[in-house]
């Protein structure tokens, strides 16, 4: 068990290093770190001096190490676009994105999984066929289009919900939350649905196809042959076996919600990290791009790790392979 955790941790660190490498290259060679620190009319001499002082003429591996160390502490220098520390910018925008991501994920899971189970158990029923068709539309429509249509319907035509911004937020330390005000909650609705819809259809289709696969297995056939009730078969056996692969893929998908937030935040003018990233791409604001990359990489790696732990906890076959002793059981 320990060996397993250690192995996964090492893998995670390796991935982080790889991501860091890419971010470093972007940071160092695409942009010029000096640009963010001096004005236009600084002379070449002064720039070179600054370069020396900042250690920008040191060999690349040393600079990489320094970069990673700084990254670990959240220091990414100053943004090219606004003269603010990148770390500070990100901290400011992070809560908005995280809250949005959380709501979208909950929406996708709480609606997607049951729908997937239902269409998996009763694939020939007309409601299932209909849901399948709708889900195909769900993964064909680009996220921004969904957002626009929702805005058109609920903001422009019906006027029920706001079309931009977070509404009123409450500060808790460095965190700002939209959960505690009515306007904050109302502002969360449309963006969460937009962001979560794609994931929802993916989850639903995944759960459905896994359910169908599982229902065709021999152990389900044998369970039927033993006369077990439908409820025992569908929920006791089929569902549990479906969940195992579903957990992995769902977890990974949810990680990508943070990245997809880029689009939703743009549509709804949501002041989060995604919007920050888009602006940084538009202005070639390299420090922000690099920082975003590392942060998102970090989130993915952590989520992957959690998913693996869950997998381990649920599937006894993985546990046994860690301890070859057959006697004793659990």
């Amino acid at each position: 068990m320990i060996a397993f955790i250690l192995r996964r941790l090492l893998q995670s660190i390796a991935v982080m290093l790889a991501v860091g490498l890419v971010a470093f290259f972007v940071f160092q060679y695409v942009g010029d770190p000096i640009n963010g620190m001096v004005g236009q009319d600084t002379s070449m001499e002064e720039r070179n001096e600054l370069r020396e002082k900042l250690g920008l003429n040191d060999p690349a591996p040393i600079q990489f190490a320094r970069f990673m160390l700084n990254a670990a502490q959240g220091k990414f220098g100053l943004s090219y676009r606004v003269s603010q520390s990148v770390g500070g910018l990100i901290l400011e925008k992070l809560p908005a994105t995280l809250e949005l991501a959380l709501c979208a994920a909950l929406f996708a899971l709480c609606v997607g999984v049951p729908m997937g189970v239902y269409t998996g158990l009763y694939p020939r029923h007309w409601t299932s066929r209909w849901l399948q068709a709708v889900s195909l539309i769900g993964i064909s429509l680009p996220t921004f289009l969904i957002g626009i249509m929702l805005i058109l319907l609920f903001s422009v035509i019906l006027g029920w919900l706001p079309s931009f911004g977070r509404g009123d937020t409450v500060s808790l330390g460095w965190w700002t939350s939209g959960f505690f005000t009515w306007s904050g909650l109302k502002a969360l609705i449309l963006p969460s649905i937009t962001l979560g819809l794609f994931q929802l259809t993916l989850i639903m289709r995944l759960v459905r196809s896994e359910m169908l696969e599982v229902m065709r297995t021999d152990y389900i056939k044998f369970a039927r042959a033993r006369g077990l009730s439908d409820r025992a078969i569908n929920f006791g056996h089929a569902l549990k076996n479906t969940m195992v692969p579903v957990i992995t893929i769902t977890g990974l998908q949810l990680g990508s919600i943070i990245a997809f937030a880029i689009i939703t935040e743009t549509v709804f003018a949501w002041p989060g990290m995604g919007q920050l990233f888009v602006q940084s791409v538009q202005f070639a604001d390299v420090p922000v791009m690099a920082a975003y990359l590392i942060l998102v990489g970090f989130f993915f790696v952590v989520i992957n790790l959690i998913v693996d732990m869950l997998y381990y906890a649920v599937d006894p076959r993985l546990r046994a392979s860690g301890s070859p002793r057959a006697a004793g059981g659990h």
Partner: protein, 340 residues
């Protein structure tokens, strides 16, 4: 339709027909099959892959996968019809009065639950026992099928058992509620030869001890010869021959069965070549008219091409072959004749 015993039959299958509607028309996979199984007897059902043996078993227990369906005939268990029962009634018969075991013991068990959990669940589905009593019974069953150290192993997961042990667990699961009939679909095919013998012996012993009848579906004639009381030979969805196992093996009447027996090498006899039946069993879409075996049958006559033979008496067995029409003896099927 005597079964050779005086007791009323446990299972009666009459004119069973299993069909698959496809867009190219309806395919008939089991065509007008009838047989009985007496209480406590072992009926072997043998034939090549695709002959319809597994489908027959699935139809009896009501586990045909759509689009397959029963297109005709009846199945009676202890006198009452079970093929037309509503789902819930049939479900209660499954496991309690008819059990089934399948070929691959690894995939037959849910990998996420311990063996004990699966046993207790099945026991409690059919018998009104408390959890602790059910667990006791589970332990008993494990011991009965020969799992050593049952106390410790009851909480193990399927992947922690070897192939032979797993199949024993599967048999234990099928026996939970003491069914009168077990349909065993290729129970030894996925096992090593040495383990096969053990499992076969186990099935025989359990059958005798509990008086459970077994419908043993397999393509392995050797297993049938060892275990069965009677044997039914299937070909292209139809019954070719049915009778006591000794008679069918020693003195097969249907030319197909004869070919089957001849193709098994045996130590005691001396022949130059193993018998080979030319050609292959026809696909469901291309079953010839008349007798399905006629293209490959060395004894095929004119009538065989036109009319499909019913099962008719041929000495101690019954064979679906015009050679035995109206008590005719037909050509004596000796090894030498066909071999030349």
């Amino acid at each position: 339709m005597s079964t050779g015993s005086n007791r009323p039959p446990l299972l009666e299958v009459r004119n069973l027909r299993v069909e698959f509607p496809t867009r190219r028309g309806t395919l008939v996979a089991v065509d007008d099959v009838s047989f009985d199984i007496a209480p406590g007897e072992v009926l072997g059902v043998v034939g090549e892959s695709g002959a319809g043996k597994s489908l027959t078993g699935a139809a009896i227990i009501g586990l045909l996968e759509p689009p397959g369906r029963i297109g005709g005939g009846e199945v009676r268990l202890e006198g009452e019809r079970i093929d037309n029962l509503p789902y819930e009634r049939l479900r209660r018969i499954r496991g309690a009065r008819i059990g089934a075991i399948f070929q691959d013991p690894l995939t037959s068990l849910n990998p996420l639950y311990s063996v004990g959990q699966q046993l207790v669940e099945t026991i409690q589905t059919h018998l009104p026992l408390s959890a602790s009593r059910a667990r006791e019974r589970a332990l008993e069953l494990l011991r009965e099928v020969g799992i050593p150290a049952a106390e410790a192993r009851i909480d193990h997961y399927p992947h922690q058992f070897s192939g032979g042990m797993r199949q024993r667990v599967v048999i234990a699961l099928a026996l939970c509620a003491n069914p009168r009939l077990i349909i065993a679909d290729e129970p030894t095919t996925a096992l090593d030869v040495s383990i096969q013998a053990q499992i076969i012996a186990l099935l025989k012993r359990l059958g005798r001890e509990h008086g459970t009848a077994v419908m043993l579906v397999t393509h392995d004639m050797g297993v049938i010869a060892e275990t069965a009381d009677r044997v039914a030979v299937m070909y292209a969805g139809r019954l070719a021959e049915i009778g006591p196992v000794r008679d069918v093996v020693k003195d097969a009447k249907h030319p197909y069965t004869h070919g089957l027996m001849g193709s098994i090498p045996s130590i005691g006899e001396r022949h130059e070549r193993l018998l080979q039946i030319d050609g292959a069993m026809p696909r469901l879409t291309e079953i010839p008219s008349g007798c399905a075996f006629n293209p490959r049958c060395p004894q095929a006559g004119e009538r065989c091409l036109r009319e499909r033979p019913d099962l008719m008496s041929a000495g101690s067995t019954r064979a679906a072959c015009w050679l035995y029409d109206r008590g005719g003896v037909g050509a004596k099927l000796r090894r030498e004749t066909v071999d030349a």
